[in-house]
């Protein structure tokens, strides 16, 4: 696993810990992984658009 350091607002941090304490997740890591996965799933169109525009820029002006 790779480690990413993030800063969470206090409210979010409490929310993460509550989920762990109530038994929904084993640890903070699991909460954050699930949150990221769901974010990706729900925001893919925006990501796809961003990546496509980056592709076009590479296609037009890239080095290789």
């Amino acid at each position: 696993m790779q480690t990413i350091e993030i800063e969470l607002p206090d409210q979010l941090y409490k929310g993460v810990n509550n989920l762990v304490k109530s038994g929904w997740f084993r640890d903070q890591n699991e909460v954050l992984c699930e949150a990221v996965r769901k974010f990706i799933e729900s925001h893919r169109p925006e990501l796809i658009e961003k990546f496509i525009l980056e592709d076009v820029e590479w296609g037009l002006h890239g080095g290789e």
């Binding site: 990501l47 590479w58 037009l60 890239g62 290789e64």
Partner: protein, 173 residues
């Protein structure tokens, strides 16, 4: 008239191979020295485009991937919901750090960027063909316009129109 073939190897996920073949421009991959295709991706492409991997002008190389049950990719694949082909493509890219990775999947691209790989997709390859002298600007505009009818690559119509206009403006078509 094409530019000189690059010696660089690339790793390809199923999407770009399938979509380029649908659009009848799979030959654009002939610009690269070798196109590494993980075994799971090979199977997926065979299922959708049976003859694509037989293209005589492209050096497709099937790569058997082992030992990816642990490590960075295992964790990231769970977090980002990657499928078997995407995981194998990233694994091959990880073992060939000087390679470009081609995929159209947003989650796979995100993971690839996080891991420091240079990653591009079908649209980039098509647009790139102009500066690599594989296609004319007019041909690329026509191919891009045909994506909704000829390809299973989904692009929002407004975005596709914008891309076509960008290419037209860049090359004064």
């Amino acid at each position: 008239m094409a530019g000189n073939r690059l010696k660089r190897k690339v790793v390809c996920d199923a999407g770009p191979i399938i979509h380029l073949d649908e659009l009848q421009v799979l030959h654009l991959l002939s610009d690269f020295g070798h196109v590494l295709v993980p075994a799971q991706v090979w199977l997926e492409v065979k299922k959708h485009r049976a003859n694509a991997l037989n293209h005589t002008g492209i050096k497709f190389e099937k790569v058997i991937v082992e030992n990816i049950s642990s490590g960075v990719l295992s964790g990231l694949s769970k977090a980002f919901g990657l499928d078997a082909g995407e995981i194998e493509a990233l694994s091959v890219a990880q073992r060939n750090r000087d390679c470009n990775l081609f995929t159209d999947d947003a989650a796979a691209r995100l993971v690839a960027s996080q891991m420091g790989f240079e990653v591009h997709g079908t649209i980039g390859l098509i647009v790139r063909a102009i500066r690599r002298k594989q296609l004319s600007a007019e041909e690329v505009v026509d191919i891009l316009a045909s994506v909704p009818q000829k390809s299973t690559l989904y692009i929002k119509p407004a975005l596709l129109n914008r891309i076509v206009e960008d290419v037209k403006n860049e090359y004064r078509v």
